[in-house]
Structures are given as C-alpha cells and as structure tokens.
Symmetry: C2
Subunit: 222 residues, 2 copies
C-alpha cells in the first residue's frame, strides 16, 4: 500500500515514516509544502534505514504530488493547518482513499498543557469536515511521542487509538499501525469519540513535566 505522509519532514511525520518503512512492507512517500525539503528528508530517512539493513526507496515531493499517488494520506501537520492541508490536496484524492489525522490541539499556560479543541469538538472531526465525499477520514497516532517514534532503537510497547465512521477504513489503518512493532491499535469508536483520545496528549506532556525520569511517554491499556 502507498502511504503518503504530508508534513512528513516534521517530528511526528519523521517518526511515522521511519517506523512504517522499517517495520512494514508499505511504500512510504514524504510530502511537504516544499518539495525540495521533502526530498532532502526522504534521503535522510533512506540513509537511516539503510544503516539498519533496510534498503527502501522513499518517494518525496510536494504534498499534492505524493497525495495523488497514495491510498492512505497521513496529515502530519500542526492542528491549525490540518483542514487547509486536506483542502489543498482534495483534488488529488480518489474515491475510497483514506486520510489519517493524528493532530491534537493544545494550549499552554502556567499549569501546563490543556486540550483545546476547535469548535467541531476535536481536530479529528474538524479534519473529517474537510475531506471530499467518498474519502474516509480516520483518526489515529494522536498520542505518540515523536522522539521515541523516530528513534528506531526505542521499544514502543504502547497503544494508539483508532476512530472513524467507516469500518473498512479503520481496519486498514489498524493493520498499518499494528504492522509497527510494539504498537497496538485499539478501536475507540466513532469520530465523536476523538476528543477523549486527543486530550490524552496534553496529559502525557503534563505528567512528563511533573515526574522525574518520565519523558516521551506513551501508554498501554491493561
């Protein structure tokens, strides 16, 4: 399966790109608003993977150019760019394609980080309102620490939550996620349940801030 990661040059994009390319047989494509930057980072990822004995080609280009080639498009951009990014590539998506939204909205004050969803209720639901008809929006990968994800020496052993309205699309994203070693994908229900998933991210950051020795946190349900 061809998986494009828009914003694939950013922290979470890098982590997802490396993990998918390293642990699964899917083809990864790196997108960015700046095609040259995407190509540079894709070459870095190839070098990193090659040093571990994984020889893969990672295509790269402008967001719209990789989106048009992919079956699954991960929108790994900051929350306030999610809808614009989806709308920008909307014409490049085919019916049946899947758009994956991992973003969550946070504010920071003196106490720490707080969940700050858009009026739609969650960033995931906001993203869902931006996909064209016939394209499925699935929320996943919201609570993964980017640094830990990008460090292929780090064990994961954590869960990610999958939300969406189309069971087939959720199943495909679940399979991709579970192809990553140490990542378990749990069904958290429909898009309306995304807020409770997204609000975990500020909690993980707050706990890392307040407890010595804990950082780059994930979680396992048990």
């Amino acid at each position: 399966m061809d998986i494009a990661i828009l914003g694939g040059t950013g922290d979470i994009g890098e982590g997802l790109a490396l993990r998918v390319a390293y642990h699964t047989s899917h083809d990864v494509l790196i997108g960015s608003r700046d095609a040259q930057k995407a190509e540079t980072k894709a070459a870095e990822y190839e070098t990193e993977l090659d040093s571990r004995g994984t020889e893969v080609t990672i295509e790269a280009g402008a967001n719209e150019d990789v989106a048009t080639l992919a079956d699954v498009v991960v929108v790994a951009v900051p929350p306030y760019y999610v809808d614009d990014t989806i709308e920008y590539v909307a014409d490049d998506l085919d019916e049946g394609d899947i758009v994956v939204s991992p973003a969550t909205g946070m504010d920071r004050d003196d106490d720490g980080f707080h969940y700050a969803p858009p009026p739609a209720g969650s960033v995931t639901e906001h993203a869902a309102s931006a996909v064209p008809e016939g394209v499925h929006l699935v929320g996943a990968f919201h609570n993964l620490a980017a640094g830990r994800l990008a460090n292929l020496d780090a064990d994961l052993g954590v869960d990610t939550f999958v939300v969406g309205e189309d069971d087939d699309a959720k199943g495909i994203v679940t399979d991709i996620a579970e192809g990553i070693e140490g990542l378990r994908a749990l069904d958290a229900g429909g898009l309306a349940n995304a807020a409770e998933v997204e609000s975990l991210t500020p909690l993980l950051v707050n706990v890392a801030m307040h407890n010595d020795g804990l950082h780059d946190l994930g979680l396992e349900l048990k």
Copy 2:
C-alpha cells in the same frame, strides 16, 4: 492515618475501601447518607478482608460522622453530588484535612461516552470550589475500574494521576495511593490539569466497548 470514604457503599468506594484496608496500615471509615447502609457494607468488607487473613475494624456511619474523624476524606459519590456532599460535611472538616475527589462527568450517546465537565472545567475543580478554607482538595483515583479495584484477586499494574495545588497534600495522597499494591501515582500538576485526567475515563469505557476481551481497563504510562 484515618481515611473516610464518603459514598463508601458504592462501587468505587468499595474498591478503594478494600484496597486501602488490604494493602496499607491506614484506618478506613465508610460513610454514607444512610448510616445503617454504611455499617452493613463495612461489615461485608471486614468479612471479605478477614477471609484473606486481614483482620481490621472498619468504622462506619453517616458521611458527616466519619468525615469528622478523618484526616483524609474521599468523596466517592457521583459527580453531580460532589459539591453538595462536601458542603454537607464542611463543618466537620478541620484545617489541614484533605478532601480527595475521584469523580468524573460523562454523557452517553450512540457513539459512546463523552467527557462532560461542569462549568468549572472539571469535576475536580468544581469540588475544590466547595471545600472550606484551610482544607486541601486533591484529585486522584479518577480512572480506576471499580470492579477490578474491588476484586482483590485482580492485579492492578496501573497508574493513577494526582492533581492539586498543595504539594504536601498531594504527597500524602500519593503515599496512600502507592500503598495500594500495583498502583502507581503520577503527579499531573495543578487542579487546572484535572480535565485531561478525568476525560480518560470515558476513553477507557469506549475502548472496552469496542474491543473484544478488554474490560475493566486501566492504563500504564511508559
């Protein structure tokens, strides 16, 4: 330390009472609006603990009668009764006492459970506004599955999050929580961070609803 559990006849109250009495040396007192009901349940808890070789006396009585005897008062009542319960026992609390709030607000619709905080931002902050001056409000035990807590054969191996403004009070509650075998207490910061802690509870319920074989879920940060 004397720990009163108001609403100690309910599900989460039962679990906390049994675990604290079983795993720690603290004295547990069971409170209820109905003193007779409190006494009946306390006797049941004593029998359960005695069957496991733990002989303890669990005092019981009306909420106000056990609150006045305790150093730490856990308000294990439904979220919409939290402030009334605290105000009802306010005159029985001494300066320096600690009130612990484990409640979280949830709504249910066709998609599942959703976090539904009061206008204060969280049930924990709402509870904090009800405690008298000089009494410290600490949020803890929000995300524990009552059935698993009450089953002393069940391993926990999960985390609970502690929020509050007074570090000494948080430290005391942390020590009580960590006295329970298999429970790790993590500092999640000030009261303003309570919403992200509370909203985990509906997520755990949603995941249990949507994934075969998962129930009575807790979580471990890692």
